[in-house]
């Protein structure tokens, strides 16, 4: 079986490129031939095509274009795709396609909202409230089957009316690289990695950390990642009265330093709300290092079991809950760490993920031919005894799980 594989690949700087770089060697061991498609090149000849779809139009626009030309298996890395859809419609001067996508989602109201956005009468929805208008339908219409990473996305997709096959394949964990031993002060040292913005609940984390410092004056917060525009971290820190000694900033780090910094932390925090239906590679990395982890109780994050991560409800008590959870995590770091490692080993095993992909691709490529072959023989036999209601036979075979 030959597979055409559409994904951003390194050196493209995207989480999905890293993901594919990790997955592909394991998948090649399970599938006869995989041809990685290149943007701007002719589509590879294949029995089945797989398309990795994320929310970045620059990284994934060409992949959606290829998907339109030939349906295939779509890996839905996020459920909210408004940014992608706006980028490949409005961003290419095709406002009508954006109106159509919004209308598909919300009917006439959607179309009117889209008109308002296009005419600059309304704020850009993909920046202000994309979670309310996910626009995944445009992609779902093209998908012969879907690979998702979480029950959450599976459920959202079904709610959106998708009736095709869905394979839930856990996000694989990266193997632990050699780590540089870093000695960073902090009792405890709390780490937060990734883009700093309100979506990552950084304001709530800062407030909670200020509370923690009242009881644990030795605590330090390590913030690794770039700051969003207009986020103004310094002003927020100053307003909370957090002195510079409590905060460690590393805006840009390379891959190996990132791992080493994570390993140096006592507790990791990875909050998110609203969720776009994403699975966090950063959370999986942290858990694989055996670190206690705080996450928001939403989306995929809510599927992390008790005892593996501390799930923080997004409600009016969020700040004190984070503060209490930081203390708890620091005090029970060893138990939480053991459970986290074991969970990643069990649930995010690379071989298991690659098996899941192989199964999905094999079923997508061959199920129809199998059903045709078996049902033809059954229908022939039935016809020979005077029964020629093949659809009825097909239903019986499907109900029995034969095809």
């Amino acid at each position: 079986m030959r597979v055409a594989y559409y994904s951003p690949m390194p050196p493209s700087r995207s989480g999905i490129a890293d993901y594919s770089a990790l997955l592909l060697p394991a998948l090649r061991e399970r599938v006869e031939e995989i041809v990685v498609a290149q943007p701007g090149r002719r589509a590879p000849h294949a029995d089945v095509a797989i398309y990795h779809v994320g929310n970045d139009p620059d990284a994934h626009g060409w992949i959606v274009d290829a998907l339109r030309r030939r349906p295939g298996v779509v890996v839905l890395h996020e459920f909210v795709l408004h940014h992608l859809i706006s980028g490949i419609t409005l961003g290419r001067g095709d406002a009508r396609a954006y109106f159509d996508a919004m209308e598909r989602e919300l009917g006439v109201v959607g179309r009117l909202l889209a008109l308002g956005v296009a005419d600059n009468l309304l704020p850009l929805l993909w920046e202000t409230q994309p979670e309310r208008f996910p626009l995944a339908g445009t992609i779902l219409d093209l998908a012969q089957g879907l690979i998702v990473h979480s029950h959450y996305v599976e459920q959202r997709v079904r709610e959106a009316g998708y009736a095709g096959p869905i394979w839930r394949v856990p996000h694989p964990a990266w193997p632990e690289p050699p780590l540089e031993r870093l000695e960073l002060a902090g009792e405890p040292l709390v780490g937060c990695f990734g883009y700093l913005n309100v979506n990552k609940r950084i304001p709530q984390l800062l407030e909670a950390f200020a509370l923690l410092r009242r009881y644990r004056p030795g605590a330090k917060l390590l913030l690794v990642g770039a700051e969003a525009e207009r986020f103004d971290l310094d002003r927020r820190v100053e307003r909370l009265g957090l002195d510079a000694g409590g905060l460690v900033r590393r805006p840009y780090v390379d891959e190996s330093e990132l791992w080493s910094l994570m390993a140096a932390c006592d507790v990791l925090v990875n909050l998110r709300s609203p969720t776009m239906g994403e699975t966090s590679g950063s959370v999986i990395r942290g858990l694989s290092l055996g670190k206690p982890m705080l996450v928001s109780d939403v989306g995929w994050f809510a599927e992390l079991p008790d005892g593996v991560a501390l799930r923080i409800p997004v409600d009016e008590y969020e700040v004190p809950t984070i503060a209490a959870a930081l203390e708890l995590a620091a005090d029970h770091a060893a138990e939480l760490g053991v459970a986290a490692r074991e969970y990643v080993r069990r649930e995010h095993d690379l071989a298991r993920s690659a098996d899941g992909y192989a199964k999905a691709l094999e079923e997508a490529a061959g199920n129809e031919a199998v059903a045709d072959a078996v049902l033809l023989r059954i229908a022939e036999a039935a016809a020979e005894v005077g029964l020629d209601d093949a659809p009825e036979l097909a239903r019986a075979a499907r109900a029995a799980g034969i095809v």
């Binding site: 029995d47 199964k359 061959g366 199920n367 199998v370 034969i402």
Partner: protein, 339 residues
């Protein structure tokens, strides 16, 4: 109780699986149950044909017969366990291994074509459905249970079945190693012949028939009486060969269960097997009930030579094996299957 024992039947082939099902019927009858074998001819190739067979079993109605209910169905093999019944118990001898561990090996049957790959996935789905709806699933060995868990996520309780009930006895060992098996490449009888080539004092008796016979005979050519192909032997001759042999060779690749080691043990003979034999390793323990070696002719030749040179140890290991085999009885099996 009225019990249907379901097994597939490859026409003109009668082996361990068929024997086990027929014995089960006989043992049920001995205990006052009304039991019968239900069988459908099985042809598993090419490609998707195997799914037609599953469909046939699915169509069979065993809820009642002649106006009287059938209380329980006991199914032993794919695709017989696809049969529907509210009181279905499956005693798995093995799954359709071509779709699992045999795939992409010389023992597999499916190509890399999309239709073949999808047929494998259909067998997996079918197994999950058919085994998932069973009231209880047993496996004849830990090896089979582990495979079921690994490939289909189905939990099975291990329940080994007793070997055929012959008048097994023991006698002083004579200098030959016995192979009792179907002559099939998966049984690796060629390994024993290669060992005999390395040790010209090693005598071998090969009982059984099968499609690999001509190849094996060519392999043994020139060994001048060192290897005897006994063909299919009757019960009396089989018991006699077991009783007189030095040891019994049994080393298929990752075997499910294998009755031969039990029969050897009931004859108080040690078993020579290999580290990759699978199910037999659950009862053949190195230097306790036999010898376990690397799957290489030289290692096998050394093991046989050791046994020939240490007859007391060979006898002791055979006796230890007998104690193991005697614990596997039909009473234990039927208590579990009918619970």
């Amino acid at each position: 109780m009225r019990i249907a024992v379901c097994r597939p039947q490859v026409p003109f082939v009668y082996g361990g699986a068929e024997l086990m099902a027929d014995q089960l019927v006989a043992e049920l009858a001995k205990r006052g149950h009304e039991a019968e074998t239900v069988s459908i001819p099985f042809k598993w190739y090419p490609g998707t044909r195997v799914l037609d067979q599953a469909f046939l079993w699915r169509l069979v109605d065993l809820t009642e017969s002649d106006g009287r209910p059938i209380d329980r169905v006991i199914a032993t093999k794919f695709p017989a366990y696809c049969v529907r019944h509210p009181n279905k118990v499956v005693w798995v001898l093995h799954q359709f291994r071509q779709a699992y561990d045999y795939d992409r090996t010389e023992l597999g049957q499916f190509s890399e074509a999309p239709e073949d790959r999808a047929a494998i996935r259909a067998v997996e789905r079918l197994d999950r459905t058919a085994l998932g709806e069973a009231r209880k699933v047993f496996a004849t060995s830990r090896n089979v249970a582990d495979r079921l868990a690994r490939f289909t996520g189905v939990h099975a309780e291990v329940l080994p079945h007793p070997p055929q009930q012959l008048a097994f006895r023991t006698a002083d060992p004579e200098p030959f190693v016995l192979s009792v098996n179907r002559l099939d490449p998966a049984k690796r009888i060629d390994l024993l012949i290669e060992a005999a080539k390395l040790d010209r004092s090693l005598r071998v008796v090969i009982a059984g028939e099968g499609p690999d016979r001509a190849r094996l005979e060519r392999l043994a050519a020139g060994l001048n009486g060192q290897i005897e192909f006994a063909g299919r032997v009757d019960d009396e001759r089989l018991v006699d060969l077991y009783a007189r042999c030095l040891a019994v060779f049994y080393a298929p690749v990752d075997e499910d269960f294998g009755m031969v080691p039990y029969e050897a043990f009931l004859s108080a003979k040690p078993v020579v097997t290999t580290e990759d034999a699978g199910g037999p390793l659950e009862i053949v323990h190195d230097r306790e009930t036999g010898v376990v070696v690397a799957p290489e002719a030289s290692a096998l030749a050394q093991a046989c030579a050791y046994l020939a040179g240490h007859l007391e140890e060979a006898k002791e290991w055979g006796r230890a094996g007998r104690a193991v085999a005697e614990r596997v009885t039909w009473d234990v099996c039927l208590d579990a299957l009918l619970a």
